[in-house]
Symmetry: C2
Amino acid sequence: GVRFDPREHQHLRYNPLRDSWVLVSAHRMKRPWAGQVEKPPEEHIPRYDPRNPLCPGNTRANGEVNPNYDSTFVFGNDFPALEPDAPDPSLDQHPLFQSKPARGVCKVMCFHPWSDVTLPLMKRQEVVKVIDKWAELVEELGATYPWVQIFENKGEMMGCSNPHPHCQVWASNFLPNEPALSDRCQRAYYQKHGEPLLLQYAKQEAEKKERIVVESQDWLVVVPYWATWPYQTLLLPRRHVLRINELTTKEREGLADIMKRLLTKYDNLFEVSFPYSMGWHGAPTGTYSKEDNSHWQLHAHYYPPLLRSATVKKFMVGYEMLAQEQRDLTPEQAAKKLRNLPEEHYKTREN
Amino acid sequence: GVRFDPREHQHLRYNPLRDSWVLVSAHRMKRPWAGQVEKPPEEHIPRYDPRNPLCPGNTRANGEVNPNYDSTFVFGNDFPALEPDAPDPSLDQHPLFQSKPARGVCKVMCFHPWSDVTLPLMKRQEVVKVIDKWAELVEELGATYPWVQIFENKGEMMGCSNPHPHCQVWASNFLPNEPALSDRCQRAYYQKHGEPLLLQYAKQEAEKKERIVVESQDWLVVVPYWATWPYQTLLLPRRHVLRINELTTKEREGLADIMKRLLTKYDNLFEVSFPYSMGWHGAPTGTYSKEDNSHWQLHAHYYPPLLRSATVKKFMVGYEMLAQEQRDLTPEQAAKKLRNLPEEHYKTREN
Ligand SMILES: O=P(O)(O)O[C@H]1O[C@H](CO)[C@@H](O)[C@H](O)[C@H]1O
Ligand SMILES: O=P(O)(O)O[C@H]1O[C@H](CO)[C@@H](O)[C@H](O)[C@H]1O
């Protein structure tokens, strides 16, 4: 018979962090695209906009005035999905109508006082300040809340409604679905194999090399073997680290470097400010901190929507929503493309 | 303390079909929206377009000429994600690099010879023809394939690249993630409660009434208690039915009616041809047909992306991708809104 070629022959790949499968049909990239095109990301953003509620010195929706901050700046989301004091829902005993209390806080964190920079264009020490603040928030909110979700929605395509560089931090009194699933998978793997899943994975990928995007002494970025989004990546420490606040100064500097390198490549791929949603997963906090979390390994997921160009994204729709995720190029093809891109940002090259 | 009000106080709701939770934060609808707006759905589509590969008599990408069909028309997708004869992937034994063979077929099914109609604007008997063809395909492909996924991506917003009314049918040699999860959940419920989950659910909703959108003698449409998309609905038969091909003639006519009523309300909500992805889930087929599938109940899911208007959708991004799905209005609010809309289509009212 014909010899199997992952670029030509569809197959399933297993995602051990979510206990699910992805359909890889790389030959689909050949089809022409006649569907929706997106507005390309805005490239010219003013450094300071008097109407932007995230800029230093400006007034927010609730009437509060931002300080003239010169590094990061954290404040409470004016329209939080989680509030600390919501009353408990009434208990409906029927198993098909179950509800649970949800309490928490939602914070917004500006990365920089200027609206016209992004992480790859910021200085290394400015990115270290962002990492330090992430670590601080995990420590502070994680003292009581079992889960602290740091995430960044970048670009209008990813529902971001403000161009100022920022992320969000939502802490909750419950372990959300995704980390609960990841916790279960990592625990089962650890029990069976005696080593943390993602520690073993990083070692394997460091040897195999074909899915590496960027690497350094302490960090590794790969397009995971089971990636669903076209240019999805996984950022991993090489050492066993449970939470972001455990990183040493040297590791934080290395993290700033590798983030800048990855995000520069992302921007260079289609020569636009690359949209994505990203977020950190680490061992749960709050009362979970007292338990053994050796199965956990800190990591960040990057989920970028673009597939073909700056204006054509991958639609995760009918088949993906109702049956299974499907991708149109192999993770190895995506990794190679990213790996071969220059590490100098197209915006600084132009100058 | 304050009395719990689901419209004011965030809480979690359990989805028994996916064994997961959704965060309901209805007070979030109050925030102003300054983010991305979508191009509104195209309202003026020519009945016949000589360049549209789905129209009767036209030539498709592979050189085949469509017949002059006057009802439904089924053909093989020219760029299929699943092909019947892909070779097996090489077996990598490492548990973190698992792959599996994937084989199947991808079909496209036109609903009608005209490009300027949609299901709610088609005649009842024309919709019955669509249902008959769905049933036929499930029977035919289900004879060998364990899963036959019927799905419709409607609107450019949902990655649909052709305005001609059509759906897709992808059959696979594996049970995809979503039906596998649903199978597991329905089985566990049946074993514990002695009645199919969705049969019990339909009875409860028929009594409670607050989440009903439309109902008839044989069918029920609700915004499920655990809905994640703003106007998500679940279409259920009242009788225990495993698969779509088991529906009687009378039930198919009733289904055509209730689909037309639901989709008319959807179009009337923002007075546009409402985008969505929808699909059918029924008991697995192929070799699964020989097993006991009493825990299964046929149903259709509708996942529409719009939240605030014809041009503002719900973004399922950072928190949703990395932590947990979150919604901005209660399912009861969504159901009430849909329920109170007229059952005459805004396009026929205008005339
Ligand atoms: O099959 P189409 O219409 O070419 O493609 C559409 O539906 C598929 C199945 O949901 C998705 O994988 C694609 O991303 C989407 O654009
Ligand atoms: O918080 P924002 O920026 O207002 O809103 C954005 O992120 C949230 C968390 O991922 C999503 O629920 C919203 O749909 C999205 O528009």
